[in-house]
Amino acid sequence: MDLLERAPIELKSWLLNWLGSFGVPEWILAVLSAVTVIGTVIGVFLGLFALASVLERKILARAQNRYGPNRVGPFGLFQPVADGIKMITKEDLVPRAADRVVHFLAPVVMMVPALMVLAILPYGRDMVPAELDAGILYFFAVGAGTEVAVFMAGWASNNKYSVLGAMRAIAQMISYEIPLVIAAIITAMISGSLSPSAIVAAQGGFAFGFLPQWFALTPWGFTACLLFYIGALAESNRSPFDLPEGESELVAGHLTEYSGFKYATFFMAEYVGMFAVCGMLVTLFLGGWQAPLPFLAIVPTWCWFLGKICFVAFTMIWVRATLPRLRIDHLLAFAWKFLLPMSFAAFFSAACWHYAGRGPLAWLLSLAIVAIPYLILGASFSDRFSVSRRTYQFSE
């Protein structure tokens, strides 16, 4: 199966050699090499976006005991084509009092970071488009551009509800960015590098010959994985954190005045961002492109990576089908009063695990350091929202 494993790289070098045999100069080949990689990555992720948009609807439908879209194509799988035609042919309305330049640029500024962030993910063995020494930092730095886009979208619509929606969306994104970054930093600390390939390599090997050594299978790693997962749900504005874009909240929040292709661009950016952050979660916590058991290594590494991303995306859809939307004050309280202390607990637990020698005692210690704050914080949360007698502050 080594041939299948190396198939994409071999294909690209074969293509470039074939072109080179026609006397095409070196510099064009270098440019073409970069262009093929970029094109493949973007093509794969846009294809995933199209598939996800219809599979999400079908999975949500099955969870609600109904069929999903099943009219267009076999099992409704050509629905994205119909959706695309609809989005492209819709009239593009811009409110007269809106800020035209900023209104136009907001979808662009939203889409570009979502695509740029795909450059550092290791898709397979030796298959990183850009090998950066500070890859994790690049991921979060470029992801910060999304917040600017949300603000631009909300402001340029010249609509009070859009501005309110944009402010809520930005508050949500900033609040959840901290547990996200701290969870990523924990893995960087344990593997000793900020480069995604090094973090994947640090999760290699098999304990006792068959157990994978992924970070998500350790107590601190499991906590950090959940923190990263919740932060990822909040960053891509997915349920249960989809207050900014829920239909019943402030119309569509910062996306109210967008129609047609610009709305489709926002939608696309959200899904591509979701897949990108799933890819990061897989790289940091689920062992990247590595197989879970030694005998499963015959399946190519890029297949494993894709499969793991699809699995994490499926759990995100599953969570969307299950949980109701959180209110803005609940959302922010959860981020600052629960996730932030838990992220510090996970950080401390990871450090103790490492310095206690990574033996059985270290595992017990790290489990205790994570579990006790979890139970205490969880208990404090369940009392907080109980109904008590109302007191009126100003009417007495």
Binding site: P25, V102, T391
Partner: protein, 182 residues
Amino acid sequence: MIREFLKTCCADPSKFLGDWFVLLPATVLLLAAAASVVMRNLIHAALCLTLSFIALGIVFIALGAEFVGFVQLLVYVGAVAMIIVFAILLTRPEQLARSGSALSGFGPAGGAAVGFLALAVLLGFIFSSPLAKKPLPPPASAPVAAIGEALMGDHVVALIAIGVLLTASLVGAAVIAMEDKP
């Protein structure tokens, strides 16, 4: 001639555009900063300032300081620009379209004069200090690891002091934002 130029470009990306690899984002930075001072619409000015932050980050990356460049993007664009935007939105949402003459008072000549004076003083001190005379150390092979070791080794006191400062500001913000219990 174009062929040679492009051949050197793709062989070594930092030689792409030659010196313009740094000068192009630097030009964008200066233009965006000037625009953010001159523009009337306050939100447009804030967005131009954000663009200047992004350009500065790209300048850092082009000069080879990747870590600083990414941190610049993360902190300035992700946090400082958001603070500026929130401050504008929360304090004066109504009167943003026409925020008065942007260049009033001493006028553009006075402002430019003050700016150039400040630049001259700064450059004078920089070039006369020992910093300009020391030779540059060679770039580290693992720059992030080198930065980490420097922070935790030679400069750990400064790091801990900054940590205390940030904790104090966080606690202060939480105290200010706490609800008044009746």
